[in-house]
Amino acid sequence: MAKFFAVTIIIIAIVSAIPILRHTWVAPEDISTHGHLIDEQMSETMAEAGISFLAAQFVLAIFIWMFSNRAPDAKIKSFPGGAKALVIGALLLVGAEVLALGIFGVKAWANVYLTAPSADAMPIQVQAGQFAFYFRYPGPDGKLGPNHPELINEGAQNFFGLDPAHDPESRDDIVTAEMAIPVNREVHLLMHSKDVGHSFFVRELRVQQDFVPGLDVSLHFTATKVGKYEIVCTQLCGLGHYNMKAYLDVLSQDDFNDWLKKQAAMQ
């Protein structure tokens, strides 16, 4: 029974590691300028966590195999070195691992969150509401008009609560249900929730950020590959949460200019 248990642990450990080694289920290709830092951090963590996982399971299995159901008169021994060796080992090894992951991880995080967007980053406001995203682009004036929550009326297609009659900056704003951005141009995303908590997640962009009702949050990123990607909500927001999504079109600069013109004409 004990030996069978030991073998089972080892089989489970190896089988668990196979999909990781074979990259069976992985995130899709990165299309952002910062994503490679996250991917590298993930790989390093996987190596360290994977080795820890396999080593711990193997040692557990080996000791179960060796020391179970021995003869009643078998001599009881203690691990040479005792607890002190283990504590020192844990402090050194795990401490070094923790320090390395902590220090190197800062770079990837800082690249997304602790740097300001460049002055020429393209501002786009995204508003999340149960259960859809809407996007707003500034018109030729380059400015987004203010939101008036009391004017929000989905039936009248006033998703952002704009008041063009009184706010000149809102008059040329372009509101869309899909998001398009030019490739290789930094985007400054201004995130606003109109009701409850939501989140903005694009796997390929290596971007995930919650919307905070009452607090506008900003995010900046640069997409490096043309294509169509899904934007999904990852913060439980109500019964339609599972179906709250939009699409992100990463276009060449010319295609983007055409797209924006078409959208402006449809306002």
Partner: protein, 594 residues
């Protein structure tokens, strides 16, 4: 060292009426069994809910026979609606975290065995103890009542994020009365646990019998003591937070709702609240809660393993200090749940470091447990199998913590099945294995009868392999970006992952069915099991020095005196390879830790 047991004896007279013996009992042992029964009923409910959810996730349009009886609107014809999925998911998480993982390893086993392990006749405040259970029971009834009241249970998840939890039924089914019932239930639960924690702390500090220094306490007693200290702080924060949400619903306050919130084109009559405030309050409780669920398991499993190994752990002190370090650090790490919440990104780095550091005491615990096996004479039985399984699961769930401790990686893994896999492994399955190990080990003392060993082993094998088949793929799903809390997967990139969900569903149904073997074994053995001797495992701590089952005052009017450290194994004594803590016999042990 304290010796107050002589003054604290006979807190209450022996019970005579049926109600005092079995219902409103003041006896910590009856209260412990009542907690266990509550946890068992809750676990069966929680597991049944997970079965329904899993079937829906694997085969979205499948009709589940009888489901319409639970909610006509939520499951017309037995097919689950998206909102009903979220309601079941919320109830599954709430029931399991609060009423199973907190109740069984801490309140149930702790109530029964802590006073006996310290040599006391009862806890110092038996009426508080009785109230603690009945308030917890009431909390469970209030929670379950949301299935039949209003438009069903809340759908906001066990974390109940604001402002979804505060704006009322306009935000979805169950968000009105359902949320209020949830908050009342959890506030009551907190009161119950606070009363319990007071009793546990005072029992440990004040009622230790003569000779029972703190370092002579068994590791299980230490774990319950440390857990009760955590509970005292954590539940004291969650309870007022729940009351504030109730006020947002019924008193027109706006603690958690900011101004300008528009739902269904209606501007909500709130202003000035903070949604992040809820997250701070909730996770200040929520992360210590993880350790409230798992630290008793660490103590119980260590206690059992030592008995099974016939030798001490490499260092009892190091294990105690490591459990203490987990408890202290657990309050400094809660912000890792909020890396992408909109919290100041510098705070994320501040929370990341202690989260990584907490892996050090956790690693030391595992290393001490594993390397203590070296040179032992490990007795394999259902209890020790589950204890060893606990270590394997704790490792598997623990290593994924390395990923989630880092804000940059959390950008990809937050709110995915990776998180679900991580916490199910480490605080779900590992803690459950601790509960199972404790049950197989202590059942003879609690019920006076032995459990069926063959059924116990079958239960172990199906649970051990089954749990890996269910929860390891959760991690793979998360790495591929599968978002949690979705009732189905309409997104293009999630479609190819459906076969993995179907595999998990089949594994969950089989593993869940295996738990019925345990329930059968428990009930059958309770009435028809072989009568248990006083000390079937040849163990040393005080619970094995009294009769089976223990008399109402635990030691039959005597006051035990403790002469030894808790784990004197691997010695040559007049009874075998061990010396009871209460035995005045002096033997030399190479494992004595001074």
């Amino acid at each position: 060292m304290h010796d107050m047991s002589a003054h604290a004896v006979q807190h209450h007279a022996p019970p005579t009426s049926f109600i005092r013996k079995h219902v409103f009992s003041l006896d910590h042992k009856v209260i412990g069994k009542q907690y266990y029964a509550l946890a068992l009923v809750a676990a069966i409910c929680g597991m049944a809910l997970s079965w329904m959810m899993r079937i829906h996730l694997g085969w979205t349009n499948a009709a589940i026979p009888g489901l319409q009886l639970l909610s006509k609107n939520g499951a017309p014809g037995g097919v689950m609606t998206p909102e009903f999925y979220l309601q079941l998911m919320t109830m599954h998480g709430t029931i399991m975290v609060f009423f199973v993982l907190t109740t069984a390893p801490f309140a149930a086993f702790g109530n029964f065995f802590l006073p006996i392990q310290v040599g006391a006749e009862d806890m110092p405040f038996p009426r508080f103890n009785m109230m603690s259970f009945w308030i917890t029971f009431l909390a469970f009834v209030v929670l379950m009542s949301s299935f039949i009241l209003g438009d069903g249970p809340t759908l906001g998840g066990w974390t109940q994020y604001a402002p979804l939890n505060s704006v009322g039924s306009v935000a979805g089914p169950g968000q009105g009365l359902g949320v209020v019932l949830w908050m009342i239930s959890i506030a009551l639960f907190c009161v119950g646990q606070l009363l319990g924690a007071l009793n546990f702390i005072t029992t440990t500090l004040d009622l230790r019998v003569k000779g029972m220094s703190l370092m002579r306490l068994p590791l299980s007693a230490w774990a319950w003591f440390i857990t009760s200290c955590m509970g005292l702080t954590a539940f004291a924060v969650l309870m007022p937070a729940c009351i504030l949400v109730i006020l947002d619903h019924v008193a027109g306050t706006s603690f958690f709702v900011p101004s300008g919130s528009v739902i269904n084109d209606q501007l909500q009559p709130h202003s000035g609240g903070s949604t992040l405030l809820w997250q701070h309050l909730f996770w200040f409780f929520g992360h210590p809660e993880v350790y409230i669920a798992i630290v008793p398991g660490i103590g119980i499993v260590s206690h059992i393993l030592i008995t099974s190994m016939r030798k001490q752990m490499l260092s009892q002190r190091v294990l105690i200090y490591s459990m203490g370090a987990l408890a202290v650090l657990s309050y400094m790490v809660y912000g890792h749940h909020m890396f992408v919440s909109g919290m100041n990104p510098v705070s994320s780095l501040a929370f990341s470091f202690p989260t990584l550091v907490i892996t050090i005491p956790a690693t030391i615990i595992v290393l001490i447990q594993v390397f203590s096996l070296y040179g032992s004479n490990l007795r394999i039985n259902s209890a020790s199998l589950f204890a060893l399984g606990f270590i394997s699961m704790f490792v598997s769930g623990g290593v994924s913590g390395f990923f989630l401790a880092q804000p940059s990686i959390d950008i990809m893994l937050h709110a995915t099945y990776f998180v679900v896999g991580h916490f199910h492994m480490v605080m779900g399955v590992a803690a459950m294995f601790g509960i199972f190990a404790g049950t197989y080990f202590w059942f003879p003392k609690m019920a006076g009868r032995m459990m069926n060993e063959t059924l116990g082993r079958i239960h172990f094998w199906l649970s051990f392999v089954g749990a890996y088949c269910i929860f390891m793929p959760f991690h793979y799903l998360g790495m591929a970006g599968n978002i949690r809390r979705y009732s189905s997967f309409p997104d293009d990139f999630l479609q190819p992952l459906l076969p993995v969900h179907q595999w998990i569903t089949v594994a969950a149904l089989i593993t869940g069915a295996a738990q019925l073997i345990f329930v059968y074994n428990l009930i059958h053995s309770r009435f028809w099991g072989k009568p248990a001797p006083d000390n079937p495992w040849e163990a040393t701590s005080l619970e094995w020095s009294t009769a089976t089952p223990p008399p109402w005052d635990n030691f039959g009017g005597k006051h035990p005196v403790v002469y030894h450290d808790p784990y004197q194994y691997g010695v040559q004594s007049s009874v075998g390879d061990y010396v009871m803590q209460t035995s005045p016999e002096q033997v030399k042990s190479e494992h004595d830790e001074k």
